[in-house]
Symmetry: C2
Subunit: 138 residues, 2 copies
DNA sequence: TATTGTTATACTCTATAACTATA
DNA sequence: TATAGTTATAGAGTATAACAATA
């Protein structure tokens, strides 16, 4: 009731995520024959911006040793490629291939679709929610 | 710009989620020496309400065969227990122990804490967001 | 000496299929 | 026959530690 409104808002968002985000992630991953981590990695890589392995490891919040395997599997499917970095021959840069970029776009489209409870909300309510969220500075 | 407000709202929530929920999940799990799935399983089980393995498998959206191992490990730590179900000797009911209930509460407290971008929002903005989310019927 | 990425190891999660014991 | 849960198996993610190549 007199609960901290920020806490309650976060709690309501978590419920929405648990009920819809996670199940959809599993569904979409299965459809595209990817694992959740592979989808996440594709999402973190941006078209036209090659980044070192270590950067991806940071983005994924996992150890660098894991990235080797994840990248191996994505590269084996032609979705990303390892490139040499000029200036430091230890580094390898990761870049999306054309195919990887296309798949990344499909993932984005599927996951960006608002879940039923949100889609079925009256439009003025949707706008109120959007405006309230726009005030949050990520 | 003239994007569907529901879609934009969902996108903004996803950003917030990716930036804060996942990292915190990893942190809290490490602190409590649990895996993400073990935390999720504890969260799904409610104190005083024993449920069959199959129900937990549904809640976790994973195959029943996985639940055996997850439950094994939680039970070995004394966090949950398997009980026989009356009426059907095939079924086993899962119940939180006292220790499991306490740990589940701690998880809830940690994850329910709103992330900085939300906590730092002016209170009237927090209320607007909360009210907009209350309109969403999960 | 320190850093980047890899390999080796061990554990957990994952689905599929085969199994046990019930129903 | 069908269902609840287990076991076996193989692939993927996970951290730690040890390693090669380079800085």
């Amino acid at each position: 009731m007199s609960e901290d409104p920020g806490r309650e808002a976060w709690g309501l968002m978590l419920e929405l995520f648990m009920a819809h985000h996670r199940p959809r992630l599993i569904t979409v991953a299965a459809e595209l024959d990817l694992t959740a981590m592979q989808m996440l990695a594709l999402k973190k890589l941006e078209p036209g911006r090659a980044v070192p392995m270590s950067t991806l490891a940071d983005s994924l919040a996992c150890d660098a040793s894991n990235v080797t395997g994840i990248v191996d599997r994505l590269e084996a499917r032609g979705l990303i490629e390892r490139r040499s970095a000029e200036g430091d021959r230890r580094k390898k840069l990761l870049a999306l291939t054309e195919q990887g970029t296309a798949l990344r776009d499909r993932i984005g489209e599927r996951m960006a679709e608002p879940p039923p409870p949100l889609a079925e909300l009256p439009v003025d309510r949707q706008r109120a929610l959007r405006d309230a969220l726009r005030a949050v500075r990520l």
